[in-house]
């Protein structure tokens, strides 16, 4: 038996109540693509599962005023197919197409990817580059915090046991802005990122006004490449500039050697895909 009890929450309050009542023995489940792997390896690791994937409010993707809201239980397939996101945050669409393959995209959710807090999670650099906020709801009410504060470390998040990630919100990318996500994995599908990069670029009157760059799988958590961002500020975008930004990015990261790649290889690739992400983002403006 992988787990003892399985609750299907009907709404957010319902889920919060079950969580609050069961202390640490309950785990939230949405797509389950990461959690079931853990349970298959360690049956009984968790006694109660609280399924939030049927809660309609958690699956919505919408825009209010200038802000986009993505429900935590929105699947990668939903994001991949969202016309709104294709126009206002294309990097999320681009990343969702490359997570696992179709089946995983039908099952897995953005909230699950974030809560899992793997340094290689493909949604994370996108949310960092979007300067997204995480909206939580728990027994003591709601709160919001920036994604970079929410992710506290390697597989560590700032979430109380009775809290649920409700949604992510960020400013919609308007005209003069472009975005891109580039993934480097062992193959095109079903691959965990060896390095990934997300870029958001706003160009006005021929000069870079906003540049946000985030890299994954190069440190315990996602890294914003501040020195590359500083370099780009107020500059005229060009291939050379983007290449220099890639070189700066190499200096901002602390990759490790592991089964997927060596630190040196990751550092090299990080520079390559940083400039590639910037070029793609520029093309999309």
């Amino acid at each position: 038996m992988l787990y003892k009890k399985y609750y299907v929450a009907q709404n957010i309050e319902d889920a919060v109540q079950i969580l609050a009542g069961s202390k640490d023995s309950a785990r939230l489940i949405a797509g389950g693509t990461d959690l079931l792997l853990q349970l298959n390896a360690q049956p009984g690791l968790v006694s109660t599962l609280v399924d939030i994937s049927s809660v309609g409010a958690l699956r919505e993707i919408s825009q209010q005023d200038g802000k986009i809201h993505i429900g935590a239980a929105a699947t990668y397939a939903q994001i991949r197919q969202s016309e709104l996101l294709a126009r206002k945050a294309f990097l999320l669409v681009e990343a969702s197409r490359q997570i696992g393959a179709n089946q995983i995209q039908n099952m897995g959710t953005i909230g699950g990817n974030v809560a899992n807090a793997s340094p290689a999670g493909d949604m994370l650099p996108c949310l960092y580059a979007l300067d997204a906020w995480v909206n939580l709801h728990g027994a003591e009410g709601s709160r919001s915090l920036p994604i970079s504060d929410f992710i506290k470390g390697y597989r560590q998040i700032d979430r109380k046991p009775d809290e649920i990630i409700v949604s992510f919100s960020f400013n919609a990318l308007e005209s003069e802005s472009g975005s891109a996500f580039v993934k480097f994995g062992a193959r095109k599908a079903q691959a965990i990122s060896i390095v990934n990069a997300a870029a958001v670029l706003t160009v006005q009157q021929g000069k870079v006004k906003v540049a946000r760059l985030a890299l994954g799988s190069v440190a315990p958590t996602v890294v914003r490449s501040r020195s590359a961002e500083a370099l780009l500020q107020n500059q005229q975008p060009s291939a050379e500039l983007f290449q220099q930004a890639g070189e700066r990015a190499r200096g901002d990261i602390q990759p490790i050697d592991d089964i997927r790649a060596s630190a040196a290889f990751r550092r090299h690739i990080a520079g390559v895909i940083t400039s590639r992400a910037l070029s793609k983002a520029l093309e999309r403006i």
Binding site: L2, K4, Y6, V8, N102, Q103, N106, M107
Partner: protein, 161 residues
Amino acid sequence: MDDTNYITMELTVNGRRVSKHCRSGRRLIDFLRDDLNLMGVKEGCGEGECGSCTVLLDGKAVLSCLTPMEKAIGHEVITIEGIGSANRLHPLQEAIIEEGGIQCGFCTPGMIMSGVELLARNPHPDRAEIIAAISGNLCRCTGYQKIVRSIEQAAQKMSSS
């Protein structure tokens, strides 16, 4: 030792209402194979890598080895057994037979489920879309080309009929 919990699984499988009292806390693949004897659902890796266990849950291709069985309660599951039979084959089943897209056959059910889902949401897929749709299904025998052609041929069959 025996802390087994039981549950009643009520759902629709291959178009039929199913109500089955059984052990809880298992994967959907275990329920389909062990309780409903739907042996066409194959387990190749148990880790979501190979796609052999692909079934449709409310019309969407999912991995039954990474799906808790309770997730299917009140929903609709379709397995390879619900796609077509020897007397009434689905156009994709016909196409994969004609094109030689089957060798050992172990990936075939999952491959067909992914193809069926694709053709339902996109009746005229191009090659790149077909490849993307089956990129979560591993095949060690065919080299994929004949499977891709099968899906192309099935799309033609379905649009001309």
